[in-house]
C-alpha cells in the first residue's frame, strides 16, 4: 500500500474510530465506516492539513470512499 494510502487510513481510523481492516478501497465513509455528513467534512479538513492541499467543496463531495480519497489526494499532491 502506498504511503498516501497509509496516511489516509490512519486519519480515517483515528477520526471515525473505524477498524483498520474495514478501511478498504470501496469502503464508504458514511455507509460502511459510520461517518455522518459532518464527519466527512472533518475528514476532508484533516486530509487538507495532512497533505497540505486544498480540496474545494465540489471535489469534496465526490470523495465518498476510502479509495476516492486516496485517488484524489494522489492526483492533487
Amino acid at each position: 500500500m502506498s504511503d498516501i494510502a497509509d496516511r489516509v487510513k490512519k486519519i480515517v481510523v483515528e477520526h471515525l474510530g473505524a477498524e483498520e481492516d474495514k478501511v478498504v478501497e470501496n469502503a464508504s465513509f458514511i455507509d460502511d465506516l459510520g461517518a455522518d455528513s459532518l464527519d466527512t467534512v472533518e475528514l476532508v479538513m484533516a486530509f487538507e492539513e495532512e497533505f497540505g492541499i486544498e480540496i474545494p467543496d465540489d471535489a469534496a463531495e465526490t470523495i465518498q470512499t476510502f479509495g476516492d480519497a486516496v485517488k484524489f489526494i494522489s492526483e492533487a499532491s
Binding site: L38, V41, M45
Partner: protein
C-alpha cells in the same frame, strides 16, 4: 463567575451602543476581542479604552468579499476565533406598501446574509477546536413584528431560524449557537426620541423603562461562557417583559 481568559471573540457592530457593551463585557471576562464595524474612529476609541487584547477589524458588511475575509483577518490578528457575536444591523424603515426592493435587500444583506457568511467562516476553526460560541443578536420585532419594519423583522426572524439550524448541525462538536433578542434598549438611536415618545414606549414595557446595552451584554456573556455549554438553539429575550416568549 464567567471566565473567558484565552478565548478570542469577534464582535460586529462594535462601534454601536450594544456592540460596544458586548465587547467590553467579553473583554472584562478575559477574552481577546476583535472589534468590527464600518466606522473606524469609534472602534479605535473603544480599543484604546480597553487597552491590551483589543483589535480593530473594520469591515463593510454589505461587501460580501469583505465579510468572507473578516473571520480570516480576525484569526490572523488574534491567533484564533472561539466566539462570534453577530451584532451589527441596519434599519431602513418604511411602510410595507412603499418598501422598495433596495430597502428590503439591503436590510436582508447586512442583517441576515452577512451573519450567515460570518457563521460559515468560523465553522472550520470551531470544528477543529471542538469548542465554539455563536451568538446572533436578533430583536424582539423578529418575534412580534413591527409596523414599518417588514424588512428588519424578517431579517431578525430569519436569524433565529438560521441559529437553530446551525445549532442542530454542530452541537455534537462542542459548538453552541444562540440568539439574543433585545427589546427597547437605550442607545444613540433611542436618544433621538423626545420625552413623550419615550414615555409612550415605556407604558408598553412592564419593567417601565428601556433596557441598557449592559443588560444585553450580560446575556451575551453568559451564552459565550463555558457554563452555557448545554444551552444551544435558544433565543434569550431581554426586553423588560415587553413580550413574554
Amino acid at each position: 463567575m464567567f471566565d473567558l481568559t484565552g478565548k478570542r471573540a469577534l464582535v460586529t457592530g462594535a462601534s454601536g451602543g450594544i456592540g460596544g457593551a458586548i465587547a467590553k463585557a467579553l473583554h472584562g471576562a478575559g477574552a481577546t476581542v476583535g472589534l468590527s464595524g464600518t466606522r473606524v474612529e469609534p472602534l479605535e476609541a473603544l480599543a484604546a479604552e480597553l487597552g491590551d487584547n483589543a483589535h480593530v477589524l473594520p469591515c463593510n458588511l454589505s461587501d460580501a468579499a469583505a465579510v468572507d475575509a473578516l473571520p480570516k483577518d480576525a484569526i490572523a490578528a488574534m491567533g484564533g476565533l472561539d466566539i462570534l457575536v453577530n451584532n451589527a444591523g441596519i434599519t431602513r424603515d418604511q411602510i410595507f406598501m412603499r418598501m422598495s426592493d433596495e430597502e428590503w435587500q439591503s436590510v436582508l444583506d447586512v442583517n441576515l446574509t452577512s451573519s450567515m457568511r460570518l457563521c460559515r467562516g468560523v465553522m472550520r476553526p470551531m470544528m477543529k477546536a471542538r469548542w465554539g460560541r455563536i451568538i446572533n443578536i436578533s430583536s424582539i420585532v423578529g418575534a412580534t413584528g413591527n409596523p414599518g419594519q417588514v424588512n428588519y423583522a424578517a431579517a431578525k426572524a430569519g436569524m433565529v431560524g438560521m441559529t437553530k439550524s446551525i445549532a442542530y448541525e454542530v452541537a455534537s462538536r462542542g459548538i453552541t449557537a444562540n440568539a439574543v433578542a433585545p427589546g427597547f434598549i437605550a442607545t444613540a438611536m433611542t436618544d433621538k426620541l423626545n420625552d413623550d415618545q419615550k414615555a409612550a414606549i415605556n407604558t408598553k414595557i412592564p419593567a417601565g423603562r428601556m433596557g441598557t446595552p449592559e443588560e444585553i451584554a450580560a446575556a451575551v456573556l453568559y451564552l459565550a461562557s463555558p457554563e452555557a455549554g448545554y444551552v444551544t438553539g435558544t433565543t434569550v429575550h431581554v426586553n423588560g417583559g415587553m413580550a413574554m416568549l
